[in-house]
Symmetry: C2
Subunit: 196 residues, 2 copies
């Protein structure tokens, strides 16, 4: 038996990502913003979507440059990550205050964070007006990763990355927990049982 | 120093959600599909977005009914959740095989899973063609929750829900881990330090 909670879905959707978006302003100044409204939205072409309020400087920057980076921080970078979501690039230089280093992407007109171990370079394909937020759908042109987070096959390993998860319901950040099982392996057992 | 990984972003984006989408077909048959390409995409109106391949039965169902439910399963429901993503509703009755019970939403033209503790009832606002996938942006009309996952303030608690996270890089599911800190509290310390 379920009860209606009304309009609190945004605070109970879990898990959500914690990604830092990098952009350039009209004056070429690099800016950052932390987002949890985002995810992968297409496989071919490989696309990511993020949603930003129109009042944000990063919103203005993306409209202008049609590009951004997604920087996936690790647990050790949580304080800087939270800080970046707390203040506006209109009033502070977020790179300076976090002591992070902006690097110009070679492929898109946006900066990434040198210290963050995993980066997507993104070119905007569509801007969707929804309401309070604009959703930017962007092609992931390339992925950059530090060697320290790569496994044997050259694929980033989630245990080495130690990404951050958001739980808006209790306004908290969480680590990723224990491995529960393999995709499309667990389900095959049920399939085998039910088709006996 | 980072290295280019080319087009493997879809397998390294973390964390991603593990949500089950409920729809009705043209014959009224309830269907389910597991998605990780999705997230919250707007605050006012409160919206969720999910992306589905055009070949999926659930894609056809959403086009037809302009509605779906998001069912957020817990760790104990992982086998059924993985199964639902593995097989097609064109060949099997996923509710029957998981032994889950379809319940007609009172607000949208879609079924939800009685046994899953947290449900969003969603009305489609926009369908965005991206490439292999169509993204459905939908207003969350209501949230339904079982009492057992609610905390004192009547808000779902992430520890009581025990949601599942997806890590496509190693094709695995993970639990949510330890709480790392509070949003906009950690960052304030850095703000205080840098503005001394």
């Amino acid at each position: 038996m379920k009860q209606s909670l009304g309009s609190m879905a945004s605070v109970v959707a879990v898990p959500l990502p914690v990604w830092i978006v990098g952009t350039y302003g009209s004056d070429g100044a690099p800016n950052l913003i932390t987002v949890s409204w985002g995810g992968i939205c297409c496989s071919e072409p490989l696309c990511v979507s993020i949603s930003l309020r129109k009042s944000r400087l990063s919103h203005q920057n993306i409209i202008l440059k049609q590009a951004f980076t997604i920087n996936i921080p690790n647990e050790q970078q949580l304080i800087g990550t939270d800080f970046v979501g707390l203040v506006s690039g209109n009033t502070v230089d977020k790179f300076s205050m976090t002591k992070w280093t902006p690097v110009q992407s070679q492929l898109v007109n946006a900066p990434y964070i040198d210290e963050v171990p995993l980066v997507f370079e993104c070119q905007v394909l569509q801007s969707i007006e929804i309401g309070s937020h604009t959703q930017f759908i962007a092609k992931i042109v390339d992925v950059l990763a530090e060697a320290k987070i790569l496994g044997e096959a050259g694929v980033p390993q989630v245990e080495k990355l130690a990404p951050i998860c958001a739980s808006p319901g209790d306004q908290s950040y969480y680590s990723l927990g224990n491995k529960l099982g393999k995709t499309y392996v667990l389900g095959k057992k049920l399939l085998a049982e039910t088709t006996k």
